[in-house]
Symmetry: C2
Subunit: 109 residues, 2 copies
DNA sequence: TGAACATATGAACACTTATTCATATTACAT
DNA sequence: ATGTAATATGAATAAGTGTTCATATGTTCA
């Protein structure tokens, strides 16, 4: 080896987040890594929506949407408001749009 | 149904990005959805690093790191500088730290 | 040239994940 | 009560992904 490993390893680990944080981060970004979930979140930028409206808008099965909404709920990215038979979903985090925009900025460079 | 679907669907689709963009976004965030890749990027916040230094720092196999670096390269998140036998990797996008911080902000709320 | 080292890569495997189908649950209307 | 509609969920399946092992490629030095 042509460079001082030990020193470099130490410096590298100095500001490394702990594993719990790393896993949480990975789980968080995992939510954004699926096209269906992205489309759902984009749909919710406009207004709160019922499950069937989301399904109809994206032209996908209701079951698929429900499953994905569950994941979005689990990661606290959407919230539900129940009204009669319907469940109305809306975004739970103001940063979501910003996060999308950062992604867009990268891919359109 | 208790609300006007057609109108809502139209409004929802109005500002929806096209599918190409959606897929690109998903692919971009997919890179951030793995703990090993996150750790690699965190390591590179400090300084450029050779493959073996990364492997040693994260206590993982060289092959694993190489495979993940390929993915990071493919999505233009790291760049390589070859010097003799070694390949030195560094971050290719200034926004990466910001993206991490947004993720952290969400998970620590 | 040959040995040693750093990195890259293909194949195999175990594991995860998204979607679909079928069905359960809940709310409402008659 | 019964039927209908909206949503949620479990099981099954197909596709995707990360790691490992083995090996190839490329570089340096003796």
């Amino acid at each position: 080896m042509s460079h001082d490993h030990e020193k470099i390893v130490k410096a590298t680990l100095k500001n490394m987040p702990d594993m719990d944080t790393i896993f949480d981060l990975a789980d968080f970004f995992k939510v954004f890594s699926d096209s269906t979930r992205i489309r759902i979140m984009c749909a919710l930028f406009e207004q709160e929506l019922s499950v069937c409206c989301i399904a109809e808008s994206l032209n996908m099965e209701q079951s698929t949407i429900s499953h994905q909404l569950r994941i979005l709920r689990r990661e606290n990215l959407v919230k539900v408001r129940k009204d009669g038979k319907q469940s109305y979903y809306s975004l739970a985090d103001d940063h979501i749009k910003l996060i999308f925009e950062m992604g867009l900025e990268h891919i359109t460079e």
